[in-house]
């Protein structure tokens, strides 16, 4: 007496070698893909390194003195820039606060200026109100009356 599973599997047991071959084939493909992926990554790193080496040899190394002078100038400019920025910041921080006398003198000047300019300002405002243009219909009514 057998289970149905056993019957089914035994009937096809002869296909096992072919299935093993298929499995090996798939596994070979799988490992080949892994190897290809690894070699691609390796190639990318190698090409990057090779490219930078070539750049160094062809672009920088032949004119190394020029590049060195340029680099020195850049460094000097950078240091000068940093030192100037520091000085201005320090100067701004070091400024003393205004004295109370100076504040009082500044307020008196402001009051005097307000007195001199003050009276003329409302008159101008009133004049503007007087000469406001009226709608044309009102003018027409006035003329008819």
């Amino acid at each position: 007496m057998k289970m149905l599973r056993e019957i089914l599997l035994e009937r096809h047991r002869a296909a096992a070698p072919k299935l093993d071959a298929i499995r090996r084939e798939v596994m070979t493909e799988l490992s080949n893909k892994d190897a290809k992926a690894q070699s691609r990554a390796g190639n990318f790193v190698a090409s990057c390194l090779g490219g930078s080496h070539k750049l160094w040899l062809e672009l920088i190394w032949p004119c190394r003195r020029t590049w060195a002078i340029l680099a020195t100038v850049w460094i000097v400019l950078f240091i000068f820039n940093v030192s100037q920025r520091d000085k201005s910041e320090l100067a701004a921080r070091k400024l003393p606060p205004p004295s109370p006398e100076a504040i009082i003198a500044w307020r008196q000047q402001e009051k005097l200026l307000a007195e001199l300019i003050g009276p003329s300002a409302p008159g101008a405002a009133e004049r503007r109100k007087i000469f406001l243009p009226k709608p044309r219909t009102e003018i027409a009514e006035f003329l008819t009356v």
């Binding site: 599973r5 296909a15 499995r23």
Partner: protein
């Protein structure tokens, strides 16, 4: 059961991590059951071998789509079933089956070992299996080969569990009838 124990020890996480040895172990475990299932559906050796190979390749490619590691088996059979369906569609050999989906008695809710067959009955059993319509045959094979649950079979075949239950019922009834006749 032996099948369940084997499922629990499957190296699916290692396969996800891309370990070739894990894939080899998984393929070795499933190659024959998968071949049996496909062969009993398509009845052509070369086509069956091709489908098994395609299934393995697809499994490696799409392992990221597997949500539950414990369901690797049903997932793999699902891929194979889809490959079979694609072949049927290509060859216009899809069988259409009309079934009554009715309330079924529980008398057929047994494990695969409920049907024990004598050696002289094997040929008759295989003949009957081949006479069954494709959907019933698929359900029965999945039940017997891997002891998949109704839900798992529904997932593999793309049918709803009620339909699977109905198919299982009719297929088992036909098998029992044959066995009783031959006694």
């Amino acid at each position: 059961m032996l099948v369940v124990a084997e499922r629990e020890q499957l190296p699916v996480p290692q396969a996800r991590a891309g370990e070739p040895a894990a894939w080899d172990a998984l393929f070795h475990r499933y190659q024959l059951p998968l071949y049996v299932y496909v062969f009993e559906l398509v009845h052509d050796e070369q086509t069956s071998l091709d489908i098994v190979q395609e299934t393995f390749i697809a499994a490696v490619r799409h392992i990221g789509g597997l949500r539950d590691n414990a369901k690797f088996g049903s997932w793999l059979f699902g891929i194979a079933h889809q490959k079979c369906a694609q072949r049927w569609r290509k060859q216009n050999r899809e069988e259409i089956l009309r079934e009554e989906i009715a309330e079924l008695p529980d008398e057929f809710e047994h494990s695969p070992d409920d049907l024990l067959i004598r050696q002289e009955q094997e040929a008759g059993f295989m003949n009957l299996l081949n006479q069954l319509p494709l959907p019933q045959r698929a359900v029965l094979l999945l039940h017997f080969i891997e002891d998949f649950s109704l839900e798992e079979i529904a997932g593999i075949t793309g049918a709803n569990p009620g339909t699977v239950k109905s198919r299982m019922h009719y297929a088992k009834r036909a098998l029992k009838k044959l066995l009783e006749e031959k006694k």
